[in-house]
Structure formats: C-alpha cells, structure tokens
C-alpha cells in the first residue's frame, strides 16, 4: 500500500489532521513542518524498531511518546546552540510535532512489528504522504487567503492595489482560517476517491 496515495496518512488513514489545519495557512510553514516530521518519523521509526523486542507491551504507548519527545527536544536544543535563527522559526512547531498522531500511529502499526530498514522506509513514505497534502493545502490557502506564495506577492500588492487587485479582486480572508483547511482536505479526499473507486468504503 502506497502511503503517497492509496494509503495516505491524512486522506485515507485520517491521522495528523490537527497539524494539517494549524500549519497550512502559510506555504513556507507547511514545507518546514513536512521536513521536520520527515526527520522525526524516519529516526523515530528506526529507534522504535530497534527497541521493538524489549519494550514491555503494557507501557508501549508511553515509551513511544518518550522516544518522540526526546528526539524533538534534542533537535530543538541542538538548533538553539548551533542555528539559533532556525530554532526560533521552528519553536512553534515543536509541540505540534510531538503530538502528531501520524508518528505514534506508524510506531504502533508498523515499527513495533518490523525491522529497522522497512520501518525507515515506512517512516519516510508516510511523512512524504503527509508532506504532499500539507503542501497542496498550504498552496491554496496562502494563495487564495493572502495572495502570496512563500511570502512573495504573486497576485499584486493588495494595499497598493496593483496586479489582480486593480481589477477588484480581494483576498479571501476565510481561507486563512482553519475550517477552510478542513474543507480543502475534504475536497482532496473527494477527488482522490473519484479517481480510485476502490478507496470508497461501504
């Protein structure tokens, strides 16, 4: 099953929705979040997979949480020491990454039962599937909500009224709010299931 499309963590497994709503108001933030989740998932999956035979079953959820939290805090500390500017930009993501259900979801579903190499691939694959959805949603939300992409004004200047704004176009302010993100994800799910009828559960 291909985590990029047929088994996409957001649209099919329905995991990681919360961060997908919060982060995607800005395309740059979506990309940064996708890369951060990729790093944490790849390393986390490998660590859990290496530990899979020694973790007592009763406390495995807590152990997974500890592994993720430790990884993220270590990354945060190292960035603060060696790349301070970058750590300032990522500080808001820290909480969102630790609580991202995709990470725990894949630990449970895959890393606990498979060897490190496959777990690494699974981690990268699911993070990529998550990343694609984040980038698509972020693209539309930033373009239609603020008229910019990566901060660059692509439709003209909304204050000076140049470009598209000269024709009377206005930014759709609703797009930067979370409910719109959910609707965009819903539209993506709809498009995906229209193209692949087998994904429709009944």
């Amino acid at each position: 099953m291909d985590p990029l499309t047929d088994d996409n963590p957001i649209t099919i497994q329905v995991l990681g929705i919360c961060s997908a709503l919060a982060i995607t108001a800005e395309l740059r933030a979506s990309v940064v979040m996708a890369i951060s989740v990729l790093a944490v998932m790849a390393i986390g999956n490998v660590v859990i997979s290496l530990m899979r035979n020694v973790i007592p079953s009763k406390i495995r959820i807590i152990v997974q949480l500890i592994v993720v939290a430790t990884l993220v805090i270590l990354v945060d500390l190292i960035l603060k020491a060696f790349a301070f500017e970058l750590s300032k930009q990522l500080s808001v993501f820290i909480g969102l990454i630790i609580t991202n259900c995709i990470i725990m979801g894949r630990f449970e579903a895959f890393a606990l039962g498979n060897n490190p190499w496959h777990s690494l691939l699974d981690g990268i694959g699911n993070a990529a599937g998550y990343g694609i959805i984040l980038v698509i949603v972020g693209f539309f939300r930033e373009l239609l909500g603020s008229g910019t992409l990566f901060g660059y004004k692509v439709l003209g200047d909304s204050i000076e009224k140049t470009g598209l704004y000269a024709l009377g176009y206005e930014n759709n302010g609703f797009m930067v709010l979370s409910p719109m993100a959910l609707i965009v994800i819903g539209i993506i799910i709809w498009v995906q299931r229209t193209r692949n009828k087998e994904l429709i559960e009944d």
């Binding site: 108001a25 009763k58 500390l77 302010g173």
Partner: protein, 253 residues
C-alpha cells in the same frame, strides 16, 4: 505469560532504566550546550534592541534581518549610550541591564507586594537623535509575546520589534512581519500629555498607517487575540516608563 517482556518486574525495571537513560541524555546535552545557548540568547536581546531603534541589516521591503552576531557586541556599545535600571525611585546605570529577565521581574512583583520591579531602559543615539528603548511583555493567543519599543523625544514611536513564543504561523506569528511592525513608526503615544499607547484596531482601514495621531494601527485579519495582546502589552508596560522618560528629557533641557 511466559514472555520475558510481559512480566511486571521486567516492566518496572525497563521503565526505571528508560527514565534514567533519557533523563541523563537530555540533561547531559542541555548542560553541555547551555553556554552556547545562553550566549545566543544574549546576542538575540542585543539584536532585538538594536532592531527596535532602526539598526539592522534590512535589505528588501519584507526583510527582518538583524545585525550579525559577530558584530552585534560592538554595534550595541556604539549605539546604546546608557543602560538604566529603574527600581522604585532609584535609577542606576548598569551595563548588563539588557540581561534583566522581564518575565521574572513581573512574576516577582506579582507574588510579593513589597517588591519593586527592576525596569530596564536603554538610551540610544542614532543620527544625532536620542531614543529611549523599553521592553514590553504580554500574552498572545497561545503563549507569551514580547518586544521592544523605541520612543523619541517627541513621544512618538521611533521603531518597534515584536516576538512571540507560539502564535499561529501565518496568523498571530505575523506580528514579526515588516508590514505589521513598520506602520508603528511615527505614531503618537501621548494625547495632550496623557498616555494613549497604540491600539491594534479592526476597521481602522489605514494599512500604511498614514494617520499618525489616531493612536491606532491596522489589526491582522484572523489574529484578533494576538493583536489585542500587543495593544495590552503596550498600554501596560510602556506606560510604566513614560514618567521616567519625561523626567530624563526635562533634565536634558
């Protein structure tokens, strides 16, 4: 039930070992990196104070570029002429005033009615003009927000810098953007001698803040609570410094 990992004793021993390993790992890394991190935070404070008074490396219209860390020490000493610490009625000079932790001072004053907060203030000089730079701190939607405001001798805003701990990227986090911070410049803080501060207002319809006497700047769509936090922070913290600035200006004349 015969699996080793299912036994209760194993679970307990595993947890203890895990806690010890993770605890020491994090503590060890934090300890060894502590000096670097503290140094970076010192630079950050200096960079932010200089940014508020207009000393920065901004190139394009949306850059927020600070003075680089290798020269920020000397630039700070060049542009900031005096650093004062105001405690009650006492004013002392302190070359390390910028390291005062505003958050700590606030909480100490809140828990102890007799404690006089230490208020740091920086007097800078740029292009022959004197500016008074004051720190501010408040709460946004999710977490703390803070910043510095540079006030000139006419009690107008010479520049601001805002930062936050965890506002939403694309919404509240945009208080750090040029298009939010720049319009504060030139805004009047006093109205006939009474402190009015600057209100982040919806419906102001003045995106470039051409009206400098209305004590208002445009709010950010979708970030009402963060904007209100900025307004409250200015109203509360900057007000503390106004009488002292008035006194200092009188002494100069």
């Amino acid at each position: 039930m015969s699996k080793l990992t299912d036994k209760n004793s194993y679970t307990i021993i595993f947890s203890v070992i895990m806690v010890l390993v993770v605890g020491s790992l994090l503590a060890g890394v934090a300890q060894s990196l502590r000096e670097r991190i503290t140094e970076n935070e010192r630079f950050e404070k200096q960079q932010n104070i200089l940014y508020a008074m207009g000393v920065n490396n901004n190139d394009g219209p949306s850059d927020v570029a600070f003075v680089p860390t290798d020269v920020v020490g000397e630039k700070f000493d060049t542009y900031i002429k005096r650093q004062l610490v105001i405690q009650g009625n006492e004013i002392t000079e302190d070359p390390e005033a910028y390291l005062i932790d505003v958050k700590q001072e606030e909480s100490r004053a809140k828990s102890n009615k007799d404690y006089q907060r230490r208020l740091p203030m920086f007097i800078g000089e740029k292009d022959g003009e004197t500016v008074y730079i004051v720190p501010m701190r408040g709460s946004g939607l999710w977490d703390a927000i803070w910043g510095f405001m540079a006030i000139d001798t006419d009690f107008r805003v010479a520049g601001v810098f805002f930062d936050h701990a965890g506002e939403t990227p694309g919404l509240g986090a945009n208080i750090k953007e040029r298009y939010f911070m720049d319009p504060f410049e030139g805004e009047a803080l006093l109205d006939n001698g009474t402190f009015k501060g600057v209100t982040v207002a919806k419906g102001n319809n003045d995106p470039r803040n051409d009206r400098k006497e209305d004590h208002k700047v445009d709010a950010l769509a979708g970030s009402t609570i963060t904007g209100d936090g900025v307004t409250a922070m200015i109203r509360r913290d900057v007000a503390l410094y106004i009488p002292h600035i008035k006194k200092l200006i009188e002494e100069q004349q």
